[in-house]
């Protein structure tokens, strides 16, 4: 995070303009390129988008704030089923349903986070692992939610345009949050909680904020998933999915946002690209994980962003005999 000098405060107007342009490009692609694209390929890209949303939330919680959460797929499940319920039982626009699904996941994050994040250590990992299991058992045993057979007959709304509109919103949200005073506090929580408390900062509150925001974007990812193939099943949100997301964050690098996003794109696309040699797919996938952990244990971009690689290193410190007075 100790990046090169940047102006402390920049006008947000350029950022907003770029963001609007990016949204326009996404919908331009949706209108003019997607109809000519192989649906199989489009499907991979959409699933990459959903991975990006899930991963950016965990990058915030684990990578920047240092809180080890093992139940991210549980929040996706809450978002997916929340969205499905809203879409089935009300007439509002499905994308409003996705937003409400995200809010439901954020609320679940608050319920899980409030009692747990007051503690330091591995409690959160255990509790979130349990939460992931509980939410699936709950869904499997609730006929209203379709039980183990899942929910079917949902509208198919998730397309390239909507998915990447959400991805851009999420990336902007989390990037801006990280570059604010809140972001500094998250990194300080990760580095030294006791010192942060000695500065009068409520560390529990900071951790809950990061956790709830992370859960929201996982919920949005789930919501989009529920409107993608007209059906959802509890088995889509098992513990293994949480581990997948965790692997993307760790491989991409903790303390980085772009690193985990690159890892998410790669690890979502890789199984598909390796399909022609499907028999060896899992071997290659595993080797990639192992080699990365040996060669770059800090992950692809640990503590850095992609853009930092194109910037020059900051000037070496000047020796200063600066007296205090």
């Amino acid at each position: 995070m100790a990046g090169p000098a940047a102006p402390a405060v920049r006008s947000p107007l350029l950022g907003y303009a770029l963001f609007a342009a990016a949204i326009a490009v996404v919908w331009g692609i949706e209108a003019y390129a997607i109809p000519w694209t192989d649906p199989y390929f489009t499907g991979i890209v959409i699933r990459i988008g959903m991975s990006l949303l899930a991963v950016m939330g965990l990058a915030l919680v684990l990578g920047f704030t240092g809180q080890f959460s093992l139940g991210h797929a549980g929040f996706m499940a809450v978002g997916a089923y929340g969205t499905a319920m809203v879409v089935i039982h009300t007439g509002i626009h499905p994308m409003v349903g996705v937003f409400l699904g995200g809010l439901a996941a954020a609320f679940a994050g608050l319920l899980v986070g409030l009692p747990t994040l007051r503690l330091t250590g591995d409690y959160l990992a255990v509790v979130t692992l349990g939460f992931n299991g509980i939410i699936l058992v709950f869904i499997q045993n609730t006929p209203f939610l379709g039980g183990a057979a899942g929910l079917t007959g949902l509208p198919v709304v998730t397309n390239f345009g909507w998915t990447f509109t959400w991805v851009l919103l999420g990336a902007l949200f989390i990037r801006n949050l990280l570059n604010s005073s809140h972001g500094r506090v998250f990194a300080a929580v990760r580095d030294n909680e006791i010192a942060l408390r000695s500065l009068g900062v409520d560390t529990t509150r900071a951790k809950v904020i990061a956790f709830v925001v992370g859960a929201f974007w996982a919920g949005v990812a789930g919501g989009l998933l529920s409107l993608y193939r007209a059906s959802i099943f509890p088995s889509q949100f098992q513990f293994e999915r949480s581990i997948d997301i965790l692997a993307m964050v760790v491989l991409g690098g903790t303390g980085s946002l772009s690193g985990p996003l690159i890892a998410a794109a790669a690890l979502t696309a890789l199984p598909e690209l390796l399909r022609p040699i499907a028999d060896y797919r899992m071997i290659i996938y595993s080797l990639l994980l192992i080699v990365t952990m040996i060669v770059r244990p800090q992950g692809l971009l640990g503590g850095k962003e992609l853009i930092d690689l194109f910037r020059r290193r900051p000037a070496a410190p000047k020796a200063s005999g600066g007296k205090a007075a």
Partner: protein, 259 residues
């Protein structure tokens, strides 16, 4: 009225009385030393004052109000800043951001204002940045503002930690062995820094230190702890001559210190 007052304060960890029956009163503007052999309970006293531990006996008053049970965050917000024996900087943040974090409590922008880069967020950031740079400048750290805090040499880390604690605008500053690991000339410079901090920022200072030249040189009064109890209090001249203190430090006592 005393700014800080410990009344018969004590804490037990199981059967161990780490601190017992400690009375201590710091008037506004004092520069008070807390000394004692290793394991005497000095840092434990700091942890009691800052709320990391809650005392099992006695009371702690800050500005006349009891702060027992308030917890580290609220006690810090009430105006007690501290540094740590083993320096606790935010290693992943720049020098500048280490100080900016300390302003977090005074910023007004909500989460959504921050995310949307609303005017109030921009004002907050501009002010935090200017204040942090000014503070770094007075500490001679401005040239290193953009460097990672973990890349600073040892002496400057100490200095940054003091600057960061002052960013919260404390009324009372607790310094835990600021001269640890410093050579005599660095310790000398630190003495000037501490005096200067007291005058410039108008803070009351309580100082733990093993470096006797520093303690005797700058403190107006000194409290000596041994085995968690106060064995002496007085001016540096009185403490230097006190036979009880001399025995605690040099005497061939049967008690073995466990740090």
């Amino acid at each position: 009225m005393s700014l800080l007052e410990l009344k018969k304060t004590g804490i037990r960890f199981g059967g161990l009385r780490a601190v017992c029956d400690l009375d201590l009163a710091l008037p506004q503007g004092a520069l008070h030393g807390l000394i004692g052999p290793n394991g005497a309970g000095k840092t434990t006293v700091f942890n009691l004052i800052t709320g990391i531990y809650a005392p099992t006996e006695g009371d702690i008053l800050f500005q006349g109000t009891s702060i027992v049970g308030a917890g580290p965050t609220r006690i810090a917000a009430a105006g007690i800043g501290r540094t740590f024996q083993n320096i606790r900087l935010f290693a992943g943040l720049s020098v500048l951001d280490n100080v900016k974090v300390a302003f977090h409590r005074h910023l007004h922008a909500t989460l959504f204002e921050s995310v949307l880069r609303a005017p109030r967020y921009l004002q907050d950031e501009a002010r935090a940045d200017a204040d942090a740079r000014q503070l770094l400048d007075t500490f001679g750290l401005l040239p290193m503002a953009e460097l990672g805090a973990d890349s600073l040499p040892y002496g400057l880390r100490r200095r940054l930690e003091i600057a960061r604690a002052l960013a919260t605008k404390p009324k009372l500053l607790l310094l835990d062995e600021p001269a640890a690991g410093m050579n005599p000339s660095e310790a000398e410079e630190l003495m000037h820094l501490i005096r200067w901090v007291r005058e410039t920022f108008g803070v009351t200072i309580l100082l733990i230190e093993h470096h006797m030249a520093v303690v005797m040189g700058i403190c107006e009064r000194i409290t000596v702890l041994d085995h968690g109890a106060r064995i002496a209090e007085g001016t540096p001249a009185e403490i230097r001559k006190d036979p009880v203190v001399i025995e605690a430090y040099l005497g061939a006592d049967v008690h073995q210190e466990t740090a």
